[in-house]
């Protein structure tokens, strides 16, 4: 830390208003917000003209692959990719090898996270080994600061076990998150089920497989009274189920991945495995419904489901290829596109990428434990921890897989023009990205 820096010329996106203001950061804190603010003579000046300045983004859904999958990504490379995407905090998913299902692995990943430029939080597994048979030691993980538990990669199939997990989580005051796909219905499917999958001769993963699980989780959460977070919803009907449950008072939040807001199943028609993901890319009708739901607040957050894979996991027949795609470095521009491009409301952009996910992951306040972290998703006011991101609305970069910071190359956006770019990222008071270049 110990650096002082000033962001000059940008438009600050507060919770309820936009303001042409400079932001001064000293020793990890925001110490000044105002017009033409005075800065110490040694302060580093970062140009934010023609940019939005808001709280650093928070990703609820990052696959960092370490331990076990370091060929695809490490905590360090994933955190660097995140910082380039404007993220000051990310939540690492527990489907590593071994799974993050006990305090020892939680501590390993948190410790590796401390060596990066941003705050790396961890989601713990709900069940031992993510096998869906018995509860993981959630209390010992919660004691290290873990606030969200999930078997992501696969949903908890056993409804009785899910109920028990929710009851236990309620007692601990933590969030249960679920990957909603009923495996008996999704089966060996590798793309959205429909006339296209039938024509291509690929087994489908039906929308119903997701919606059945969403309905079950909502019913269980209503019964138990536990806080539920639904991961990567991909169908319009799933959102309707969430909206209905909320009306009945269910404590539920829901995220959507950038790819489900931008891409459709039609991309699978050439059997390009870059477009294989679980839940699968759906129809244009779903994309339209998800965009509306994101704009009107039915969906809480955009979460990347950044899923790095090495080439040998993708250079396979479609049915055998690993599901998942990258997302961290393009999430801002894609979210902006999904919210209307040039007409997207800046306040909503920062709600869905920063303030709401920070609240869901309970990252809005400082925490001093091992899993400790600074405060994210704030209002950009004096006294806040300095986690900020500066986005250039006029930049139109073209995605080049070879220039990604991620170790993996499985982006589905190669050659696509992005509607904006991250210029600077400030995390824990340090400029970790300056002019689109990672500083560490």
């Amino acid at each position: 830390m110990a650096e002082s820096l000033v962001l000059r010329g940008g438009t600050v996106v507060h919770t309820d208003r936009l303001a042409r203001e400079d932001v001064l950061v000293v020793d990890g804190k925001i110490t000044g917000v105002g017009i033409d603010i005075e800065a110490p003579s040694d302060a580093r000046v970062l140009d934010a003209s023609d940019c939005l300045v808001g709280p650093g983004f928070v990703d609820l859904h990052t696959h960092l692959r370490e331990p076990g999958g370091e060929e695809a990504e490490t905590v360090a490379t994933g955190a660097r990719a995140a910082s380039l995407g404007g993220y000051s905090a990310i939540v690492a998913m527990p489907n590593t090898t071994p799974a993050i299902d006990c305090a020892a692995v939680v501590a390993q990943v948190l410790t590796l996270g401390r060596l990066t430029g941003i705050d790396v939080q961890v989601a713990g597994a709900l069940t031992r080994g993510r096998e869906g048979h018995s509860l993981a030691p959630m209390a010992e993980m919660a004691a290290l600061g873990v606030t969200m538990f999930t078997d992501d990669g696969m949903g908890v199939q056993d409804s009785g076990l899910m109920r028990r997990a929710m009851e236990y989580a309620r007692g601990l005051g933590v969030v249960v998150a679920d990957h909603c796909e009923d495996e008996a219905l999704a089966g060996t499917g590798s793309m959205n089920e429909g006339s296209l999958s039938a024509r291509l001769g690929l087994e489908g993963r039906s929308a119903l497989a997701e919606e059945v699980m969403v309905a079950r989780d909502l019913a269980l959460a209503e019964l138990v009274g536990c806080q539920l977070h639904l991961l990567h919803l991909s169908t319009g009907r799933s959102v309707e189920l969430v909206v209905d449950a909320r009306k009945r008072g269910v404590d539920v939040s829901a995220e959507v991945a950038p790819h489900h807001l931008i891409l459709t199943q039609d991309l699978c028609s050439t059997y390009d495995t870059l477009f294989k993901v679980h839940p699968p890319l759906r129809t244009q009708r779903d994309v339209d419904a998800l965009r509306l739901a994101l704009a009107d607040g039915s969906l809480d957050a955009v979460a990347t489901d950044h899923a790095p894979h090495p080439p040998q996991s993708k250079d396979r027949p479609f049915a055998d290829a690993a599901p998942g795609m990258l997302g961290l470095e393009q999430a801002f521009a894609l979210t902006r596109e999904a919210l209307g491009g040039a007409s997207a409301d800046p306040i909503r952009i920062f709600e869905v990428l920063s303030r709401r996910p920070a609240a869901i992951a309970r990252l809005r306040t400082h925490d001093a434990r091992l899993g400790g972290h600074s405060a994210h998703g704030g209002d950009v006011e004096v006294g806040d921890d300095a986690n900020l991101c500066v986005v250039d609305l006029d930049a139109r970069p073209i995605v080049d897989p070879e220039r990604l910071a991620s170790r993996a190359r499985n982006t589905p956006y190669a050659g696509r023009v992005m509607q904006g770019a991250v210029r600077h990222t400030i995390a824990r008071g340090d400029a970790v990205v300056i002019d689109g270049e990672a500083q560490r």
Partner: protein, 329 residues
């Protein structure tokens, strides 16, 4: 994505061809059929070319048929038993294919248990032409071409004329009924496209679980009453129950499938005069087709096998002809 001609192109799906492209293949196959009748059944057409047959899934007849076709054209044949070698050792499909192409080959005849593998391989190779010899539940284009070729010969012969140069008009308004495991069948997908492109109308009959999950946009009518449909069809195409794709678990028992959808002697007796039956083989006698029906002269299964060679000769010849260059991967 249709192209008029297969010349110099991959053959990945029947969708790659329009009616003229199909007709061209049938006419070239007629000419190669003449070679079969000579004392020296070999032509030097593809001398110096290398055809690799890459079968990632068990097959006897398709493989032999393609390799025979390549040899009749004087091509060198590299036959790679990949199902039992590098793939089992963990090599990715892409590495396997790139390794084989590095040995210098002109065509890859590819059979794979996964849908879309030929299309992926076509993206990965630099100059070789890719011929789909069956991919998962997706496509088996040469089988559909063989069926068209065989039916055209049989129908023309019944009318007392030659099939050569007869175009596709013989298929106009022809009613073709496909019975069996449509859901898992690559043959059915290719047949439906090939028959409708040729001008026929296609109906399908299957237990509810063995129909594709969504038939929207498919040019087919689904019929529930098999017996009634059999009475009206000009051609009945039978399909094998694909146990290796788990089709057995989609019906309570094979016996029940035989009862509801098998071509029994009783059903065959109801066929229209002049109606024909096809089966892509291998037949499972007693399941989808009664043994006596399989041996009935109206069942063209042996002609289909025999015609496999000239049709595949035509496909290899056209795909390796240089009219559209060989460098456009």
């Amino acid at each position: 994505m249709s192209v008029a001609s297969l010349s110099g192109q991959h053959l990945l799906s029947i969708e790659d061809l329009d009616a003229e492209g199909i007709e061209e293949i049938l006419e070239v196959a007629e000419a190669f059929g003449e070679v079969e009748k000579r004392s020296v059944r070999k032509v030097p057409t593809l001398k110096g070319k290398v055809v690799a047959s890459l079968f990632f899934e068990e097959s006897t007849r398709t493989r032999l048929s393609f390799e025979t076709a390549a040899k009749r054209l004087s091509a060198d044949v590299l036959s790679l038993a990949v199902a039992s070698s590098s793939v089992k050792k963990g090599e990715s499909l892409r590495d396997t294919v790139e390794t084989i192409e590095a040995m210098g080959i002109d065509a890859v005849v590819l059979r794979h248990s996964s849908a879309g593998a030929p299309e992926q391989v076509a993206r990965w190779v630099e100059r070789a032409r890719v011929i789909n010899a069956g991919d998962g539940s997706h496509q088996h284009p040469t089988q559909a071409l063989i069926d068209l070729f065989t039916l055209r010969q049989a129908l023309a012969s019944a009318q007392g004329r030659s099939s050569e140069g007869s175009g596709l008009s013989i298929f106009d308004g022809l009613e073709i009924l496909i019975i069996g495991d449509i859901r898992h069948s690559r043959v059915a997908r290719s047949q439906i496209q090939a028959y409708t492109t040729a001008g026929a109308t296609v109906s399908v009959a299957a237990p509810g679980t063995l129909l594709p999950t969504d038939l929207e946009g498919w040019p087919v009518k689904v019929v529930d009453d098999v017996d009634e449909a059999v009475r009206h069809a000009d051609v009945v195409s039978l399909l094998r129950m694909q146990e290796e794709r788990g089709s057995g678990s989609f019906v309570p028992s094979l016996h029940e499938f035989t009862m509801t959808h098998g071509m029994s002697e009783a059903r065959a007796a109801n066929l229209k005069p002049g109606a024909l039956m096809t089966h892509p083989g291998p037949m499972v006698r007693g399941i989808e087709i009664a043994s006596r029906v399989a041996d009935d002269p109206r069942c063209l299964v042996r002609q289909q096998v025999a015609n496999g060679v000239p049709v595949r000769m035509a496909v290899l010849f056209l795909a390796l002809s240089s009219s559209s260059g060989g460098e456009d991967g």
